[in-house]
Symmetry: C2
Subunit: 583 residues, 2 copies
């Protein structure tokens, strides 16, 4: 009988002694490591926030008191003590819970959250709702130090400091790390506060108007309980600043904080990854080498990232090599885009590398700071396309979002050769911003690199008749298979790759009118607002029929790729069937 | 001969005595008032920043030293002393310059800017470019107190405080106002700093890592010169905090700061507006009364705005009447959306009122904080549609941006009756977020209000044959005219209003297949990613031809509406011609 077996809800935590809470913390750590080692997940953030989670639930009365976790990559302990420990200890149940908070799983979760810097804003809405309804309870926003640099967090902190006038508790989980190291002036203030045991007179939170208390032993459950008890039922906004140890209890994660922020499956003993990514050429390597070579030749390249350098293969060694040409802005995507625009205006060549889902933070900066000003910044978009990711990290919205903004050239390479040619072209042209969807797992090599004047043109892999398959980037493989399927039905289809989704290659499109009856578009993104609809519009006044394939407009959640493709009729047989009906 | 006649560039300002600078300031104020009184524009912000502008140009060496104006609604004085005074004194030249900075006008302007909170980010990019290129000059970001609450500004301030390590000057133009009153904790700190002549130990800027100096007489050109000279060529980030008087020199604007932030044309003597808006029913009144009635009945409505209450008719009296149910978050649109999501989650009914162009700040919050969580917040979008606005304030992108996000119901009322029915429905349904494009100038009244179960359905105004005109919201008038034109050619067209652009009314669309050959969509937004393309996709596999009308994907700049409509073939005769060709 473990302690966790006795914990069916937070009420059971409240009955425990400090010793039992510490023992429970160790059990929870085993659950974190078990799940993460088998299916991957966030390691360091979850390990570091176990004691604070227990203390929060010991002191506060969830779900009446409401705890909102920022980005929620530290919520495993919370999940385990709110009835979901099977999702950590029983591999058969792993797919029953997500790695993030989710109201569909538990009344103790208030939001589906996976992007950073949202908890203070969200919690302030719950607090305001409480006040308007005349209720009394505590609202607690948990936020990591890394997430503090995000605009939404800063807006929320500024608002909640003065505009609520009632109970509001912000727990700052300061583990001295973002995903990588922190960047930004406020981190110097956090450091000063840690070094002075919270006593420094210069205090970012107090400057905004918060009461402030500091807990140096942020993994000491007894001290945490005392701290939370001291602010419980406060009628003012207060910050509880915790100094926690990221990765606590797993030596490797304590020592190597960045690679153990999140991990693919691994062997707990050795730390070795148990997933084989194969050999193959890495676009990360190619990209890094290409950029670094330019810098070494004296070109004024600025590599910009927003807190997630590892996603692009910029490990610490590479960052050091890039030197002053490497700029991590912290979790501050809006600033990254605006600054990139200005770097281009100032005569440098900025290359902002960003996760597709986090690019969503920057619509207005893309539009106003960048596109309206036509500054030639380059944006490399990673993890784009259809994926089996969590609903919070989907890469299928970027084309619909950004390709409809004027003045942005949105390129979609299908092959390594196309990608490298586009990267090269984008960094020499001066016409305006260029966005490139960096190919994912599958890269179709062996193609001839397009010339600079061809990077936006549609490229015909084969010219046939009746049916034309237009494949956006990654969909080239599916298009090829569909062409083969059609050949079985004696249809010699035309096959072309679409390299640019922000402009139409009208000459190529016009050339299809002669011999074709059906034009089929395939894209790795939502169909709504995407490329295919533009083709449907283009041929709307013609005799050509158009079929658009891509993703339905929906938030899928860890949907296996084969299911996702089937549900969207993204299978050669299905597409061929639909086409044949129209011939 | 005026002093301004002698000022052809900032070099001429540098030669002046303090007395001359003060005289010049008065001439500049006349220019501000002349232009604004004749064609409208920003009054208070421009009047308050005249002396600071002169001092900046006296001390620094523009354009080598680079001054970046936030939102740039305080740039008139800058424009006048950089060769553009005819744009203020000569009405024939008024359309030659914009009310915002613009690099196409002058080398002293570095960005086209009209959204708030961007200057620090943009300036930091210029500073970083300077450093990478090994150049030496000053980079100055000017930002108003109101703009400080925006996430992009806060991200930029945090970054520039610690990551540049070189010259960076932030001039905070503190006129103690946003557009309306300020909201947020940092304003208490600004107040404390003003009250202590900048000596308070709790200092928001110092907490981030800035050096800090305070100028209490922010309209005293001599003191401003001394302050700027003291920071010129600094090798650190420094904030120069100016206490300025918004509206300085025009008594009405000094006294009534909010209505004189921006004004339509007016009589300088009396302050009376010289534009007649006609009588007519105001949707602002209807909306306010509807919301206030609900609140008076005890409903937990929360009216949320982000710094621009006047846009929606929430004058100070109405704000007071709404009381705790009125929440101005300051310029913090991201926070507004996230908080609205949480207000709905907490059982209240939030109604976030927002200018279409500023909604662009919130794509990710709409997607992740709101839509993914399906919380039933209501967003009222104002100033949508095709317009003759500046390139920075266009309302034609909202549908393409937001209607392709899953789970958002995007409604487009054409009539007052539709709008009120939709507002009512949106506040009672619990299915998820609803966005309503509040009709602009023209409201077609006299229609029957749709029932609650009809608010998303297409509504047929007339059923004909051959040609079906589908009008999104405001385009109903044009569609009616087009139907009349077609009737001249003996085509009895079908006419329907599209009330919802985020879902297709497939039953209604299917019903068109029988008797029609051409379906025409009309929308007041960019065609790319918009509603019409979805119709083209829907009918892509059918015999129906589809023509989409709307705006080209481009940033138009103060383009007169008649030109805009003509260039997009949005004229009854043109549309009818195109349709007849396909019959």
């Amino acid at each position: 009988m473990t302690l966790l077996d006795m914990v069916h809800s937070p009420a059971d935590v409240k009955k425990m002694s400090v010793q039992q809470l510490n023992d429970l913390a160790q059990e929870i750590r085993q659950g974190i490591l078990k799940r993460d080692s088998l299916i991957g997940g966030h390691v360091g953030p979850n390990l570091g926030f176990v004691e604070a989670t227990l203390a929060l639930h010991y002191v506060f009365n969830s779900p009446v008191d409401k705890i909102v976790f920022d980005v929620s990559h530290q919520c495993y302990a919370h999940k385990m003590i709110t009835g979901r420990y099977n999702g950590f200890f029983n591999p058969d149940d792993y797919d029953k819970i997500t790695g993030y908070t989710n109201p569909h799983e538990s009344e103790h979760d208030h939001f589906v959250i996976g992007h950073t810097s949202t908890s203070v804003s969200l919690a302030s809405g719950l607090a305001k709702a409480r006040d308007l309804k005349g209720e009394k309870h505590n609202v607690i926003a948990v936020i990591g130090d890394g997430s503090l640099s995000g605009g939404e967090a800063l807006e929320g902190l500024d608002f909640a400091a003065s505009e609520l006038g009632s109970n509001f508790i912000v727990v700052v989980n300061d583990n001295q790390m973002s995903i990588a190291e922190n960047h930004g002036g406020l981190y110097n203030n956090l450091k000063l506060l840690r070094e002075t045991n919270g006593q420094a007179e210069i205090n970012f939170f107090e400057a905004l108007g918060y009461d402030y208390i500091y807990v140096n032993d942020g993994n000491d459950v007894e001290k945490l309980i005392a701290a939370f008890q001291s602010v419980k039922d406060t009628n003012k906004p207060v910050v509880v600043h915790l100094n926690t140890l990221k990765g606590k209890g797993y030596k490797l994660a304590e020592t190597y904080k960045e690679p153990w922020h999140w991990s693919v499956p691994f062997d707990i003993e050795s730390g070795d990854k148990t997933v084989d990514f194969g050999e193959g050429e890495s676009l990360d390597d190619l990209t890094y080498n290409f950029l670094n070579d330019k810098i070494k030749r004296g070109e004024k390249v600025a590599v910009v990232v927003a807190g997630t350098p590892g996603v692009f293969g910029f490990n610490p060694q590479r960052r050091q090599e890039l030197g002053a040409h490497y700029i991590d802005v912290g979790i501050a995507e809006e600033h990254a885009v605006a600054m990139s625009s200005a770097l281009a205006k100032g005569g440098c060549c900025p290359v902002f590398c960003v996760h597709s889902s986090f690019l969503q933070r920057t619509y207005d900066q893309l539009s106003q700071d960048l596109a309206l000003n036509r500054n030639p910044a380059v944006i490399l978009v990673y993890w784009s396309g259809l994926s089996s990711a969590d609903a919070t990290h989907l890469g299928c919205f970027d084309m619909a979002m950004a390709s409809n903004i004027p003045n942005i050239t949105f390129l979609t390479p299908a092959t390594k050769e196309e990608y490298m040619a586009m990267l090269d072209w984008s960094m020499t042209q001066k016409d305006g911003p260029v966005m490139i969807r960096v190919p994912n797992a599958v890269v179709y090599g062996g193609e001839v690199a397009p010339r600079a004047d061809e990077v936006k043109a549609m490229a015909f892999a084969q010219k046939g008749e009746k049916v034309a398959l237009l494949a956006v980037g990654e969909m080239l493989g599916l298009a090829k298979q569909t062409a083969e399927t059609l050949m079985n039905f004696h249809v010699d289809a035309t096959l072309a790759t679409v390299r640019c989704v922000s402009e139409l290659d009208t000459a190529a499109l016009e050339s299809l009118k002669d011999k074709h009856k059906v034009v089929i578009t395939l894209e790795g993104g939502v169909v709504n607002g995407g490329f295919g609809e533009k083709i449907a519009r283009y041929f709307g006044n013609s005799e050509l029929k158009v079929l658009n394939y891509g993703a339905k407009k929906e938030f899928t959640d860890r949907l296996p790729l084969d299911v996702l493709y089937r549900e969207n009729r993204l299978l050669p047989q299905m597409i061929a069937e639909d086409a044949l009906k129209l011939l």
